[in-house]
Symmetry: C2
Subunit: 204 residues, 2 copies
Amino acid sequence: MSLIITVNRQFGSGGRELGKRLAENLGIAYYDNEIITELSKRSGLAVEYVNSIVEHKPIVYYPITIGRSFLSNVPAPVDMNEGLYKEQHALIKDLAKENDCVIIGRCADYILEDRKPFRIFVYADTESKLARCRLKADGLEKMTEKQLLRHISEIDRERAKYYRYFSGRKWDDPGHYDLMINTSSLDIKNLARGLADSLSVYKT
Amino acid sequence: MSLIITVNRQFGSGGRELGKRLAENLGIAYYDNEIITELSKRSGLAVEYVNSIVEHKPIVYYPITIGRSFLSNVPAPVDMNEGLYKEQHALIKDLAKENDCVIIGRCADYILEDRKPFRIFVYADTESKLARCRLKADGLEKMTEKQLLRHISEIDRERAKYYRYFSGRKWDDPGHYDLMINTSSLDIKNLARGLADSLSVYKT
């Protein structure tokens, strides 16, 4: 059994930082945007396009089957998306087969369930998520507080929808995580060090 | 700032074991039944009596004030309980003042909020709680599965009520914990070691 760590996280909670630090401390692979780059390679689609599809909520839109016979050569958009999702699922399974790793988001905990991943959910209170977003300097820091709050809750809503769509589960339900980490008053660097130490016994 | 770790836990989840191991690894005080013994000393009441009051749900029963004037010399039972709770709260504050420590249950996370404790909630799935209870050999192992399930959910319901009564909060709400630990597939000993290592930097 290899060590697979999955990290689901609220936007602005520092889940990505925690995942990255865990991977560094453990000396294992880290997969986040790398998945998008690889998907873009495999599908021949632009990185931005792949990202726009797989990072956001699935379009729950089913083509009218009767109508499709007229357009049988034109792939309906929903099919294209479904294909990308399937490709992403297959890629995640491939990556986890190859080596010990940390995977950020993307329903990896659900997709790899039979591999018994160590499932982490990272969250934080509103105030510290706002503070973290302001530090990012990727445009978010220019938003008003109201805009930023709306942005944060929109992204989390999309993540929850995406998760529900594929797994049928509630995204932030403690029942299907091994560890729920509230980063509001935690030193992520410090926690990652100790946690990596605990998890290192499962490395292959 | 001293290191205060509070552990709330579902019955049968191994929260007590985790707390004990954290205290051992960190070399700090551990308070669980010690609180009852000390309360019994302070109040002059029997350990069993103190335990029956403070371990279970508060009796939400208010004496009819009009009627009390006739019995002004007889303390109403609810006053006795309230006194014990107050004494317990004061004792918890005293203990946390003296040294770094781990405190199990008893709303310590709420009572010591201004001391910024590291707040842990330990939970597990039903199957592993049943298995843990069966190992305890304290009478629970003789119960049928149905009896044991009822027992587990009754105790958790009382803990949740107790917590709600004093803090006004939902007992298992991730928002007021730093770490939520699902012990269903975790090695508690191993996790406690790494976690203690992370927390050791806060020791006084």
